[in-house]
């Protein structure tokens, strides 16, 4: 369908963009790459009175890597992540997940900030920020604030972002060398949204057991989630076949997946267990 009518603004400063959003009292939307928002407009699910284009805002497209971790400017595109050779070491889980994000053409436009703001429960980036305890830096009328990822997503397509707030940066904590990880996703075609996916990582304690285990799941709830019961199975244990099987079973027991035309709830429940199993096998290999 053709897009509904809207006004368009293309500010050159963050302050100007925030002012425009604030002045429209929830009727304005920020547009970054537009790869989620434009389909929403085409379906008339969204019909804002004003689109505030972020493309001219300076400094939002940088990838910064230092001792504190990886900071992705909100306008960093999927393509920029895959093209940045440093990230393979600085955050291999991020790179593994982004390889599953959307199709070739979408990756040339879609942004990390846009994906987080859109908050599709089956999207990879929201899952990664939750699995990795990332922080989302935002700026609005009231100033700047930093939101922990696990507080950011409220439900499907719903976040804590105020109507006048713009995501500026995603901060992923530093990734130590030697960390074990795996990312597994099942989709009908490569690049489609996940029917279920899992992002896992753990460090190793002095006895060779898993420590600091993080198990994130995607596509099996109204928002991405970490699964504490599964992490409890892993922490302190040697990640062998028996532990992996118990983790997979704990995963299936811990989720309440939705049902849609692509998969029943029971199928998703089983599938996400398999995804965690495969991700742990990859991590332990």
């Amino acid at each position: 369908m053709k897009l509904p009518a809207f006004e368009y603004a293309c500010p050159t400063t963050l302050a100007e963009a925030v002012t425009l959003l604030a002045a429209h009292d929830g009727e304005a939307k920020a547009i970054a790459g537009g790869q989620s928002l434009v389909p929403m407009l085409a379906f008339r699910i969204a019909s804002p009175s004003l689109l505030v284009d972020l493309r001219k805002l300076p400094g939002l497209d940088a990838i910064r890597i230092d001792d504190s971790g990886v900071r992705l400017g909100a306008m960093v595109r999927w393509r920029d992540i895959l093209d940045d050779a440093r990230l393979v070491r600085a955050h291999p889980l991020l790179v593994a997940a982004v390889r599953h994000v959307a199709h070739y053409q979408i990756r040339n436009r879609g942004t990390v900030g846009g994906s987080i703001a859109h908050a599709d429960p089956a999207a990879e980036m929201p899952g990664i920020v939750v699995a990795c305890d990332a922080e989302i830096a935002v700026t609005g009328k009231a100033g700047a604030r930093v939101i922990p990822a696990n507080e950011f997503f409220v439900g499907a397509l719903t976040t804590t972002l105020a109507p006048d707030e713009i995501i500026t940066e995603i901060r992923l904590p530093a990734w130590p060398a030697g960390r074990r990880f795996g990312f597994e996703e099942f989709a009908l075609r490569r690049g489609d949204f996940a029917i279920a996916a899992a992002a896992v990582f753990y460090d190793q304690d002095s006895a060779g057991g898993a420590a600091n285990a993080h198990v994130g799941v995607i596509g099996v709830g109204d928002r991405p989630a970490r699964l504490a019961p599964v992490e409890a199975v892993l922490n302190g244990a040697r990640v062998d076949a028996d532990v992996i099987a118990r983790a997979a079973a704990a995963t299936s027991a811990a989720v309440e997946p939705p049902e849609d035309i692509h998969a029943s709830a029971a199928y998703r429940r089983s599938l996400v267990g398999t995804m965690v199993e495969r991700a742990l096998l990859a991590a332990a290999a």
């Binding site: 053709k2 897009l3 006004e7 434009v38 379906f43 393509r79 070739y104 040339n108 490569r190």
Partner: protein, 164 residues
């Protein structure tokens, strides 16, 4: 609103509503109807064009967002009477049936081969997974793209003397 950008090497200034997609602007304002519109919500890939050399879905970018960018459509890849090596390969391998998806297949494959002339069949399939052919002639499309790689290793795969 007035927007200026480049299309197939030519600077154009268009007067468009903000809600007009680049795809509609190309087809309806600039009368470049080689860009096809299938789904109009970013799923089928038929409307793929190059923006600053990168493949994008022209139904998911507003015309006003193309301001200052360089857009290449299927019309910009070849001259009127000469096919590019990639287009010749599509003909050789019977890589089109009804032809509706073909402009998107060609622009996408052109972007891929321009950057990765040594890509393998798996990579071609992955990239073309964003382009739907409802005649389902995928095998011959992949073969055509693979066969065109040699032209991109030598040059840029375009017909000579044509901007884009």
């Amino acid at each position: 609103m007035a927007t200026t950008f480049e299309v197939n090497g030519r600077t154009v200034e268009v007067e468009v509503e903000p809600r007009m997609t680049l795809a509609d602007c190309l087809r309806e304002v600039l009368r470049l109807t080689g860009t096809h519109l299938g789904c109009e919500h970013g799923v089928c890939g038929a409307c793929t064009v190059l923006v600053d050399g990168e493949a994008v879905r022209s139904c998911l970018i507003l015309a006003v967002q193309a301001e200052g960018r360089s857009v290449t459509t299927i019309e910009g890849l070849s001259s009127d009477d000469e096919l590019t090596p990639l287009q010749q390969s599509f003909r050789k391998h019977h890589a089109l049936q009804c032809g509706f998806c073909t402009p998107g297949m060609i622009t996408t494959a052109h972007a891929l081969l321009s950057e990765e002339p040594d890509c393998d069949a798996d990579r071609v399939r992955e990239v073309l997974s964003g382009n739907i052919c409802r005649c389902t002639g995928y095998i011959s499309i992949v073969e055509a793209v693979l066969d065109a790689r040699s032209a991109y290793r030598k040059g840029d795969g375009k017909t000579e003397g044509k901007p884009g």
